[in-house]
Amino acid sequence: MTLLTVRDLRVGFGRPGHETEVVQGVDLDLAAGETLAIVGESGSGKSVTAMSINRLVDYSGGRILGGSILLDGTTDLATASEARMQNLRGGEIGMIFQEPMTSLNPVLKIGTQIGEIFAKRRGLSGRAVRQAAIRALERVRIPDAARRLDQAPHQMSGGMLQRIMIAMAFAGEPRLLIADEPTTALDVTIQAQILALLAEMKRETGMGLIFITHDIGLVAGIADRVVVMQGGRAVESGTADDVFDRPAHDYTRHLLSAVPHFRGGRSARVNAVRSEGAKATLRVENLGVRFSVGGGFLRQAKGYVHAVEGVSFDLVPGETLGIVGESGSGKSTTARAILDLVRPTAGRVEGAEGRAVQMVFQNPNASLNPRMDVRALLSEPVIAAGRRVDTEALDRMRMLLDKVDLPQDALARYPHEFSGGQRQRICIARALMPNPRVLVLDEAVSALDVSVQAKVLDLLIDLQRDFGLAYLFVSHDMAVVERIAHRIAVIYAGRIVEIGAARSVLSDPCHPYTRKLIAAVPSIERRHVDFALDTDEVPSTLRPDGWQAPPQSWRDHGPDHRVAVEPAA
């Protein structure tokens, strides 16, 4: 039975009569119990399309210019009154957003926020509200639900908050759920949990699900139908198998092939440099970083977060070491400690003297001062070295701009005049100004659109060859790491648990955590494999004062592949 039929939907933003058409005639069909994935990059109109269905687009300055949105083949949502829409939203049409942290009110208890919906939607009161709220949390597999109701959002992890958002959306018993990038802000293992949960909830209730994402690989496992959007148009639509196995449109083929997809180690680069006995250019031994908690002026610290504990590795010229792990695992802290952006509390870093190690940050918008033009930005390392910006320095700027594929006239322009990918190229050029031997890339492509990611990765590989650079590539994204890394270190709760040749680690993971991490990565090839719903959380690294990390013991698994042996529990 058809739940939703969208025909020739057109949506515009701007002054009446002068609208910019952001969605230019989109058709969608969704049956009850089906999942429709809308895939596209930023600016493709995918979110605007979804927000038009529940008419939230009215509140962000947009207007439906034409077309119809039929619910059950009868009600046209495109022309329905606001009063009618208010009744549908949070009722028959539920929605979950990307950022669970900002979707919940931080000062109200979880129970109050869920209870409000039951009171409004089902007319419950008093004890009945609480009972319903507990059942709702149990339904999204939140353990210890009664206690959780009395907690505030900041006491919970991002994954748990997103499950609570799902519970709230289901409180209205929706027949249609719109999920707008619901897992983008979450770690990969948590993402797998949310995907599995959505799939189960759909089976239980028979609702229709619209899943919006920039990552075509992500929806491979859950979508029945796929619509690919580009520039406000649906360029391809069809059943999941048709779109994945027989893509008709060039853009779909581009998304499926050019964009990094996880292939279990088969796309990994092969390490020729290390085997020739090259000398290490960067050596990290037993690195440790601790942050005190609860301490302060004249106050004794309550304990220490052991963010990084006994991390050791080395890098040879021309080699990329990928550091993978989830948020809070200590991977970024490791990178920052090497550059002395956070002070290591233990261990040694050899080879980071002077300006030999440079860094590229995640967000190119934040790492370029918006008030400086490109020439001033690229001059910063020159001035920092106490030198003048002379013709030699300007020549190097032009050479590097050329290397990162930016036009020569870029020097006189400001960051806001460039796209996100171009801005990251400026950051890369700036990091190369002092002629470093090692580049630390901290989630350097994570903020970019998927097709831009691929281009920047190719650029990095070219630069590595041209300059003989060693890369330390920190990322949560296994598909991206697989593209660029020769070797991979998996970091978990502040410690490396597995390290070795990328192909070997990705195709034959040994440590239980690495296995879980790799199993959670969505991939087109494995799309018919079901995700198990696993609700484990990462352990805390908060330790009492004086705590000593137990020594790690290692076993070899192949020529360049070592695994930490977990003590029997």
Binding site: F361, A366, N369, R371, E380, P381, A385
Partner: protein, 279 residues
């Protein structure tokens, strides 16, 4: 330049600019001695003359020309205001920036000192300082500077705290930029707009404080003219010679209004959210 153009397009900014422009011209002429009459010369035959004739704004009890005295008085007041706010802005910005950057004990000590200064009403604190030192123009400058330093410290510290955590500051550290470079180029550079707004608004308050100190006999000393002294002189003659009160009071009011309009306009221009609406 972009800012003066934008000020001229902003209606309140235009009015403020005209008021302050006219007063500044009068002040400069007064300080250069280019007044219609000698501001100190006493014309015994023309005491308490109403406005008119060769005395455009009348004369006071000693037959001195009010207009000439006002021009010198405005010059005096503007000098004190600009000097004191200049000192307050410099010291406050340096304190605020370093408190944000170094944090810890230095931040705690500096900000608690500023809290203590802020806890006193401005005029009371100025009175205290004048009471300790000798009354006069230099003391007024110092007193007003001390009173308004905490405001600049706060204006600088808040944004500096958030700027300091931005990636471009981390980036600058990775290629070894000096602390001074980061503080001036990345932190101070972004603070220019809020500090300019604060500077203009503080000028209005400083002008008022200076007038109040002089009114109480603790600022500029007679026979030198100043706005506060002229008001004070007019007190007992208010009914006989209202022009002695009206003109200095109007000048103070206009100057405060002018600086406030200018400050508001600068704030609108500096705020990117309203900048689009203006252009």
């Amino acid at each position: 330049m972009r800012i003066p153009g934008a000020l001229l397009r902003h209606s309140a900014g235009r009015i403020g600019l005209v008021i302050i422009g006219v007063l500044t011209v009068a002040a400069v002429l007064g300080l250069l001695g280019l007044t219609p009459h000698d501001p100190l010369a006493q014309d015994r035959l023309a005491r308490l003359q109403p406005p008119g004739g060769s005395y455009l704004m009348g004369t006071d009890l000693f037959g001195r020309d009010i207009l000439s005295r006002l021009m010198v008085g405005v010059g005096q007041s503007f000098t004190v205001a600009f000097l004191s706010v200049g000192i307050a802005a410099t010291v406050g910005t340096v304190l605020g920036l370093t408190a944000a950057w170094f944090g810890g004990l230095w931040d705690g000590v500096a900000m608690r000192m500023m809290d203590v200064l802020l806890a006193f009403p401005a005029i009371l604190l100025a009175l205290l300082i004048v009471a300790i030192l000798e009354a006069g123009m230099a003391t007024s400058v110092l007193a007003i500077a001390v009173v308004y330093t905490p405001i600049f410290t706060r204006v600088a510290r808040g944004p500096a705290l958030s700027l300091k955590t931005r990636s471009f500051v981390d980036a600058a550290r990775t290629f070894g930029s000096s602390r001074r470079y980061i503080l001036t180029r990345h932190l101070l550079g972004d603070l220019v707009a809020p500090l300019t707004v604060q500077f203009t608004l503080a000028l209005a308050w400083a002008l008022l404080t200076e007038a109040a100190l002089s009114f109480l006999g603790l600022g500029t000393q007679p026979p030198n003219p100043s706005l506060g002294l002229m008001l004070s002189d007019s007190r007992n003659l208010m009914e006989m010679a209202p022009w002695m009160l009206i003109f200095p009071a109007a000048v103070i009011m206009l100057a405060v209004l002018g600086f406030n309009l200018l400050g508001d306009a600068l704030r609108d221009i500096a705020d990117p959210r309203s900048r689009r609406a203006l252009s």
